[in-house]
Symmetry: C2
Subunit: 318 residues, 2 copies
């Protein structure tokens, strides 16, 4: 087990990233892990401020997520959504009755002048998430997806249109003016940092916004802490979400190796699935150490095992 | 049955008023009834714009109200409220999962610049309320309750503190600057108006705000249409709510006669319950015609019967 006085930082999007974050929570001593979640897919819907990745990570860390459905809260009910439909409201985004309470609390706190960091700290504490969870920024950044038929906000692309439009480009509105969350940036620049783990999240829409915040990429490169990513692509497919489809549309091969190539010299190590072991050599040729491990996390045990392997791998890279 | 080319206007608060409004809907020909609801107990809660009286009337007219519980929607669920409690949110106001959809729709529409009239029209149409329902005003008016221990907003007094504080005075914040809803005012001044029915709602906090809007009392007095009120006090008790308790605290006898006296020369007729028949003479001595009728509305039949008696009584006063 890693020494408890050193900090580990995990960068995460939603569902896939949250699985590894949960493994890290269980594997690491209390207080060692900080998770930074993407907020570029946050959006305003029905007057509510919704932070899908933050919520997915928070619910997962708190053990409240629906493991059957793969998203949302376990035991969720949908009375409000049915009532909303009757009233002619927008129902393309599935708002559960319990989940709605989170959005109400966040929206109210933001309207009262609290920061996303403050409200996230409050919510994770109330839900006993047991891990420090930070938004990547307290400033609004919004992923916009360029498609053949025009630009779409991320949730319109991802949820409403079910990732069907062909992606020709991606931009992060507001990224130049956004500051990385202060504690996140302090940790990145701290000697206490022992590793940065990029969770198996979508490189283009979940991780790239975090890396694109002013100063983050530079701080990662300057840090003595190794940066290790876990491939979200296994055997040419994304475990969840549109990563593989996006890669093809953006004229990249949908492979673990292409993800390593995409992250490039930011990485010290890259973790690929056993089914992609044959790509290890090509990845190492990029100057990135490769670890082959079972990366498909079906249950909690898989998550903890992968967390352990990733942490030990990162320690070996110092 | 009253002639269908004349309009009837009902002024209503919440639960008690909505019962008679429903009776009127069933008794009168389609298109004849307009209900104006009090909006002075509207409030902002958890960032939502809530209009309790409008919603109670709307749900009741649409047949969606919970007749067992006496308030809210039938078949309501409370998952969101439980989740809100876990998150440390305010739960003193019982927000049901279905009801929440109404508040979300209204809050969003108001934020988009729609008027309360417009959103009420949309919601009543979606729910098939079948009656024109208008807010008393599109401008914010807020009932403030003066008590021995300080001033309370109406919902804090009514819901959070369960009407326990002793009332020493009532004021309607914003009333001087508020305009009566335009269609309401046009109808009040119209020759088409054949009767105004003041429903058995709380005279002080449900009806008084409507009457206190600039120009409303004058228009009622100038109108040739008779004004008939139904007593909310039966045998010295309020069927629902704090009317009787308030009367005592405001140094009035809690009686139907005292309500007639309170409305005074605004009224042409006053409907009292059979149990208060002995007060008819004293009421007529005030220059107000009295009708004795069974006013306790237990089921739909009672509501329609009372509506019929009230309409016929008003017709007799022309």
């Amino acid at each position: 087990m890693a020494s408890s006085d050193k900090k580990i930082l995990a960068l995460s999007g939603g569902v896939g990233g949250a699985k590894l974050a949960l493994g890290l929570k269980h594997y690491l001593p209390a207080g060692q892990l900080t998770v930074v979640a993407n907020t570029a897919d946050d959006f305003e819907h029905l007057g509510l401020s919704i932070s899908p990745d933050l919520d997915t990570v928070m619910y997962t860390l708190a053990g409240l997520n629906d493991t059957q459905k793969g998203w949302g809260l376990a035991g969720e009910s949908w009375s409000g959504l049915a009532a909303l439909e009757r009233l002619g409201g927008d129902t393309w985004f599935q708002l559960g009755d319990k989940d709605l309470a989170t959005h109400l609390m966040r929206t109210l706190a933001l309207a009262q002048g609290k920061t996303l960091t403050e409200i996230t700290a409050l919510l994770t504490q109330r839900l006993n998430a047991g891990v420090k969870l930070l938004p990547m920024s307290d400033d609004p950044v919004r992923t916009m997806i360029e498609t053949a038929t025009g630009e779409l906000s991320f949730q319109h692309y991802f949820v409403r249109d079910r990732c069907a439009p062909i992606v020709s480009g991606i931009r992060f509105e507001g990224i130049e003016a956004a500051q990385p969350q202060a504690e996140f940036m302090r940790l990145l620049q701290s000697d206490e940092l022992s590793a940065v783990i990029i969770c198996p999240s979508n490189p283009f829409v979940s991780v790239e916004p975090v890396l694109s915040l002013p100063g983050v990429r530079e701080a990662l490169k300057s840090s003595r802490a190794p940066v290790v990513a876990v491939s979200p692509i296994v055997a040419g497919l994304a475990i969840k979400g549109p990563a593989a489809k996006m890669m093809q549309e953006l004229s990249m091969p949908a492979s673990a190796q292409a993800v390593a190539n995409y992250y490039g010299d930011l990485l010290d190590g890259f973790v690929i699935d056993e089914s992609d072991a044959f790509q290890a050599e090509a990845i190492e040729a990029l100057g990135i150490k490769a670890l082959v491990a079972p990366t498909i996390m079906k249950g909690l045990r898989d998550r903890i095992d992968l967390a352990q392997q990733v942490v030990k791998f990162s320690t070996s890279l110092v």
